[in-house]
Amino acid sequence: MSVKELEKTATLEHAGDGQHHGDGILGEQFETLEQQNTSYLIGMWAFIVQEVLFFGAIFAAYAIYRFKYVTEFTLAHHELSVPFGTLNTFVLLFSSYTMARAVRAAMQNRHKKQAFYLFLTFLFAGVFMVNKYFEYSAKFEHHLFPGGDYDAHKVVKHAKEKGELRVVEENGREFYELGKTRDGQFTAFTKVTPEEFEQRTRLFFGFYFVMTGLHGLHVLIGMIIIGILIGRAWIDHLKNKPIADFMPVEMTGLYWHLVDIVWIFLFPLLYLIGR
């Protein structure tokens, strides 16, 4: 571009300058709304990239042990409730949908609709967290939280009932044989000491709590932000504001979908392995 053209563009951009800066939507560091919007979008994407690697590293660690202790992890994961997990996946997928609708409504400046869909999203997130609360408290109750009173006996009991674990005694010591019963015939895959079994199932629940805990934290943070956005959308509605900045909703949407995606991977990896 020639200097003349450049100056023309710059001047044009400045033409709308006062109007935009005045209405409180355009940040002072930006020249145009378009620049601001893409900046926020790209910034959010950069943040998502960061989140992908954040969760990715822990998925990598999980994968290593998932391979190393296949049988123990499979037995331990029976303690997770598939109905609860499925319900939560359903709820979260649905909340992603309502979030997408909220973003759409925000782009159309339909504040009431936006508030409605945000509220639905908030509600689904709440259902997710309540579910999570019940799941967690069941784990705590059964001493499956890998803290001081961790105890694998629940896992052992269930595995025994399913015919996937057998207690054997040799040389006065107790061992667990892990395997499968088919046609009344038990085939052992591996044999471990009770201590090892405890260690490895503890590792599984460690991963379970760290991964779902970090995910849950993200859901909570998302709920707080969505809560604020509901309030803002409602105020916009009451004030009958013709135009509102839809970027906060759009960015929250991106964040929310990311939280959804993390769960899309967590669900099969934790709840559905090797049944």
């Binding site: 710059a10 790209i42 690697l53 954040f54 590293a57 803290g147 260690q199 991963f207």
Partner: protein
């Protein structure tokens, strides 16, 4: 919009237009945030330096008579954690990146000023936790937090320090996100990618690493803290875990982190060499792309920290191969810098002395990296003083020389005062000589096999160690001098009245007041010429279109 509170008589600038404490602590101005970072990391640098002084003094005698081995271990951990996480990683990006990026690309601020301030608060919160951990008895894991020692054996507030590093890590991520978006979206009209100053290219590459690498180390360290608290065997073999996995995840970030430290310094050197040679940086495109190449290939070489750990040989060979490849972009930069001086008009001012010093030290650091890229010699040299010398040549000789060059070069723009030139030159010489005295003997010690992190050592190595300790006192004095005279110059230094005291090119020199006002530019400038256009000194790099009335105040009014 800002309300005017400024009542002074001078032209308002970002330093004097508001002076309350709150106006500093709640500022969204990238320049003020840069100053906040500058002050905080200077304090951490002195703390880390103090720990280093204790280490060197203790090593003056083979038995290590000054400290007990326990305190010695805590000292080198303190030194490493502070210097790496609280000084080197934020040093050039958070101080000069913040101060200069918007000025260099012709923007009013970074894309996300509030995130920028938040990043400083994250950094300070992290630093506070680290310091609390250190004052409550210290930690002795080494800055690498290697498992299972850190997760199952080490005493002390390791988890607290880890949470501190975690928070500081997020400060770094926020800075990275901010800069990536700023460089992509905030460039002034006419500021095309290939008109960007090379410092901006270097910052872009650095930000990539910050965003892509830091989250991995954050979660990894968090897992160590979890393992400590709940005895989950993620990294401790006695609990069923794998320490090699920790090393993979740790070095996935921590090797590229070396480039977080050195790439910005390389950017500074490009600016300074060209400004004081009055010549366009030779092979601009090659220098720019070599920064990107370093950032990207740098992610593929982490396994070279693990040649002797029992990593698979096949993986090791791939990592070694890529390590040799990543040396090439650095070589390209060095040769292009030499060609920049060629046929230039070289002014021997203090920043240039530091830049030349950088060339000397970085070349030694880089070339000794070849001994470590070679798998066979790596096995002999790893975890010895050769490593210590090598990474100090790169990080201290490279990154800190770059940092000091930047500090002197942009000091008049940041403060409106000139540093005392004579003292500056003296300090630059002292740092260079002291540095070589301190660290060159360590190459020899390393080749002889002296292990790092040793509190005592065999008698026959005493002479070289004494030499190193003696050198470190010269180096320490060399570092103290700038602290003193730069502080002095804030009040007594010569006031800078011209925009461009060095006759440099670049928007921050040509279009911005001696001390920038809170807006940076009255209006967004238009860039008309490439960077470093020293061949046409009569035509400025860009111009500010039509003036508009000065509104006093800034984004944080």
């Amino acid at each position: 919009m800002a309300t005017a509170t400024y009542t002074g008589t001078e032209k308002p600038n970002y330093l004097n237009w508001k002076t309350t404490v709150a106006s500093w602590l709640l500022t969204y101005d990238h320049k003020r945030i840069a100053i906040l970072y500058l002050v905080s990391i200077s304090i951490f640098f002195l703390l880390g330096g103090l720990a280093a002084a204790f280490i060197r003094l203790d090593l003056a005698t083979p038995k290590g008579d000054l400290l007990t081995s326990d305190i010695y271990n805590k000292m080198f951990t303190t030194h490493g954690v502070i210097m790496i996480f609280l000084f080197l990683i934020p040093s050039i990006p958070a101080v000069f990146g913040n101060f200069l990026l918007p000025l260099m690309i012709g923007a009013r601020d970074v894309a996300f000023p509030r995130l920028n301030l938040l990043s400083w608060y994250f950094f300070m919160a992290g630093a506070l936790l680290v310091l609390i951990a250190l004052f409550r008895g210290g930690i002795d894991t080494g800055w690498t937090f290697y498992t299972p020692y850190s997760s199952s054996f080490a005493k002390g507030e390791v988890s607290l320090a880890i949470v501190g590093v975690f928070l500081a890590g997020f400060a770094s991520i926020f800075t990275g996100i901010n800069f990536l978006v700023t460089i992509h979206k905030m460039r002034a009209p006419g500021m095309t990618w290939f008109r960007l100053p090379l410092f901006v290219w270097a910052m872009y590459a650095t930000s990539l690493i910050q965003v892509l690498g830091t989250p991995v180390v954050a979660i990894t360290l968090l897992l160590v803290a979890v393992e400590r608290t709940f005895r989950i065997g993620i990294f401790d073999p006695n609990l069923g875990g794998d320490p090699i996995l920790y090393q993979h995840l740790f070095w996935f970030y921590s090797h590229p982190a070396v480039y977080i430290m050195i790439l910005p310094a390389m950017g500074v050197i490009s600016e300074v060499l060209s400004a004081f040679s009055k010549r366009r940086v030779f092979g601009y495109h090659f220098v720019a792309f070599s920064s990107l190449a370093i950032a990207i290939i740098g992610f593929l070489v982490w396994g070279h920290h693990m040649f002797s750990t029992g990593q698979s040989m096949y993986a090791g060979i791939v990592f070694s191969f890529l390590t040799w490849i990543v040396a090439i972009p650095s070589a390209i930069k060095i040769f292009n810098w030499m060609a920049t001086i060629w046929k230039g008009r070289v002014h021997w001012d203090t920043p240039m002395l530091y830049a030349l010093g950088f060339m000397g030290l970085f070349v030694i650091g880089g070339l000794t990296g070849l001994h470590l890229a070679a798998m066979a010699t790596n096995v002999h040299l790893t975890d010895t003083y050769f490593i210590v010398a090598h990474f100090h040549y790169v990080m201290v000789g490279g990154a800190i020389m770059g940092y000091l060059a930047a500090l002197h070069f942009w000091w008049p723009k940041m403060t409106g005062r000139m540093y005392p030139e004579g003292w500056g030159k003296l300090a630059a010489m002292l740092v260079f000589v002291g540095f070589n005295l301190t660290f060159f003997p360590q190459f020899i010690l390393g080749y002889m096999g002296m292990p790092r992190r040793y509190h005592s050592y065999p008698e026959e190595w005493a002479v070289l160690n004494v030499l190193s300790t003696a050198g470190s006192s010269v180096l320490g004095f060399g570092y103290l001098l700038p602290v003193i005279y730069l502080t002095w110059s804030l009040k007594y230094g010569k006031v800078v009245t011209e925009r461009n005291p060095w006759g440099a090119r670049g928007l921050e020199w040509e279009l911005v007041d001696p001390v920038p006002d809170p807006h940076n530019f009255e209006r967004i400038p238009i860039v008309t010429r490439p960077a470093y256009d020293y061949a046409h000194p009569e035509e400025p790099t860009g111009f500010v279109p039509k003036p508009r009335p000065v509104v006093v105040g800034g984004k944080d009014g």
